[in-house]
Symmetry: C2
Subunit: 334 residues, 2 copies
């Protein structure tokens, strides 16, 4: 539909008449305000469509008619009204820059988001789930249980440290031999791993924690080419995004008091010291994430999704994530 | 399993032996660090299980063995190792306060969360989706499209104002008649609505914006007893939680620059004025939410879920939410 004044006026008339019919059929007299001066109302509505097709006011006007139409008790009448309602919605969609027509999608982000059904399937992508979490939110428990449910690998800071330690130990053994164990290739790419190993002890002249971070980053990037996995923290979301490797990034948190309650139970601590400890750990997390990414830790704009684990619990959080990534194994309802 | 030292030692031995077998079968030599002094390692592991069953270190040790076992190329070997791995996990689960055993769930929050499959179905509950959103994130477009897809009603601030205006106009007509239109009962509860109407103009001595807020709150609470709907903003999540009415609360946002880009396109604005406007609107939203709820607007702990709409777009956000609430109509994969 061209966005000219005649067309807008015609659409306004259709909306007005649908409104009148819907209110009559629903037996309500609430519509009568709208029914004041017919031609004046149509002119106002036409102007609204012509000048502000994106406007939330038009959408709200339409939505209110739809809401009312759904209350019509006679099924045939209701169906007839909803058909007209849907036809009007379709007409509005054709108007340039109508509401809903300007998407919010960031094509670059969406292309990397594997929980987006529009994500282009190349066949090479692995299922990589990055989980950030506040301490005490059971995020690591959820990550571990999710890895188990999906039968994929699970990596957290301790595992990275163990792997890096073993690779470093491996380096010494490697230096003594001519051939590296080819089976390692299956797990971690051999040549870059070896090079990283030999470089590891030197830290590239960086502070040790930076060296560890960069070693972890390389490991995450290399693993992403080889296997499906869940990675806890390590700014893996940002590392993968910067390397244009598809994944899903989830942040798990829970209200402070609920995290305190859980940490007290888990670690047999007193209330006051738990509060203090949790605040300290939050600050530490925040600084780490900001230092290596320049972003605000836990801010919803930095993840695909955030989950409040207190509203779900461990088991249901796992199931929720599985539904999100559409891998939920039980037969679907409907 | 009792949490006594002998049992822990037995479990530690099983873990150690599984680790040794898995590394041997995977053909890797990385496991050998772990294989240093067998009895010493078992003693350390047993102590870890006995003293810190919750400890993330134990989980990481186990997870690393699982990760490695999944790389075993011979299917029968892999299956045998994974069976032993799962048996060990089951044993650990039986240990009091083992990792994963202390849940984060807040029973009160979970009972009100309709996207939680554990939510008790009473038959009286309606599908109520509360959507908070940052301006420019397409949250209202997502809410409207979701209402359309679910065939349920959609309410936003304009609709509330229209409904309240019409109810107020209705009041005058009502005062002239003896019987109120009984059909209205179907839409909004008649007696309280009428009483609210007659009280509305008086504002209960409150500032007008407070009166509107409280009228909206009453309306939301009454609607929740009658119908399925989506409500945009209005602190509906907190109103429903305070009234112990089940719902799902979702916050939709997107990176600032992406929201700016979209608002410029939608409203034909310049970059600088859009940034200024968006910051102003964010502050306004923040103050409104904090004033009526005492909570921080947009903080993930205040919602069941947060979605970054830039990672999905409008259509995919709708589909994501439908998967979350398990109402997604297309045939399920797997």
């Amino acid at each position: 539909m061209e966005n000219n004044q005649d067309k807008c006026r015609e659409l306004a008339r259709q909306i007005y008449e649908l409104d009148a019919d819907v209110y009559q059929l629903s037996g309500s007299i609430l519509g009568r305000t709208f029914n004041g001066d017919k031609e004046q109302h149509i002119a106002t509505l036409a102007a609204l469509i012509y000048t502000h097709p994106q406007g939330h006011v038009l959408r709200s006007e339409i939505a209110l008619i739809g809401n009312m139409a759904r209350t019509i008790s006679n099924k045939a009448d209701r169906s007839r009204m909803m058909t007209r309602y849907n036809e009007i919605l379709k007409e509005i969609e054709k108007i340039p820059s109508s509401f809903g027509s300007v998407d919010i999608v960031d094509e670059q982000l969406a292309a990397l988001n594997i929980s987006n059904p529009d994500h282009p399937k190349t066949g090479d992508d692995h299922l990589i789930i990055c989980i950030g979490r506040t301490h005490g939110s059971a995020g690591t428990d959820i990550g571990f249980a999710l890895a188990d449910a999906l039968k994929i690998n699970y990596y957290d800071v301790e595992i990275f440290n163990m792997v890096l330690d073993r690779l470093e130990a491996e380096k010494d053994s490697f230096n003594d031999r001519e051939n590296f164990d080819p089976k390692l290739d299956h797990i971690y790419p051999s040549t870059p791993a070896k090079r990283r190993c030999s470089d590891f002890s030197r830290y590239h002249g960086l502070p040790k924690k930076d060296a560890i971070f960069f070693n972890q980053s390389d490991l995450i990037r290399d693993m992403a080419k080889k296997e499906d996995f869940i990675v806890m923290g390590r700014c893996a979301d940002v590392i993968l995004t910067n390397n244009r490797i598809p994944h899903i990034s989830i942040f798990i948190t829970a209200p402070f008091q609920q995290r305190v309650r859980r940490m007290m139970e888990v670690n047999h601590l007193e209330y006051k010291e738990t509060c203090k400890l949790l605040k300290k750990l939050d600050r530490k997390h925040e600084r780490y994430y900001h230092f290596y990414t320049g972003r605000k830790w836990g801010d919803a704009v930095n993840y695909d999704l955030c989950i409040n684990s207190a509203c779900y619990g461990i088991k249901e959080s796992v199931e929720l994530i599985m539904r999100m990534i559409d891998k939920y194994p039980r037969p679907h309802k409907n």
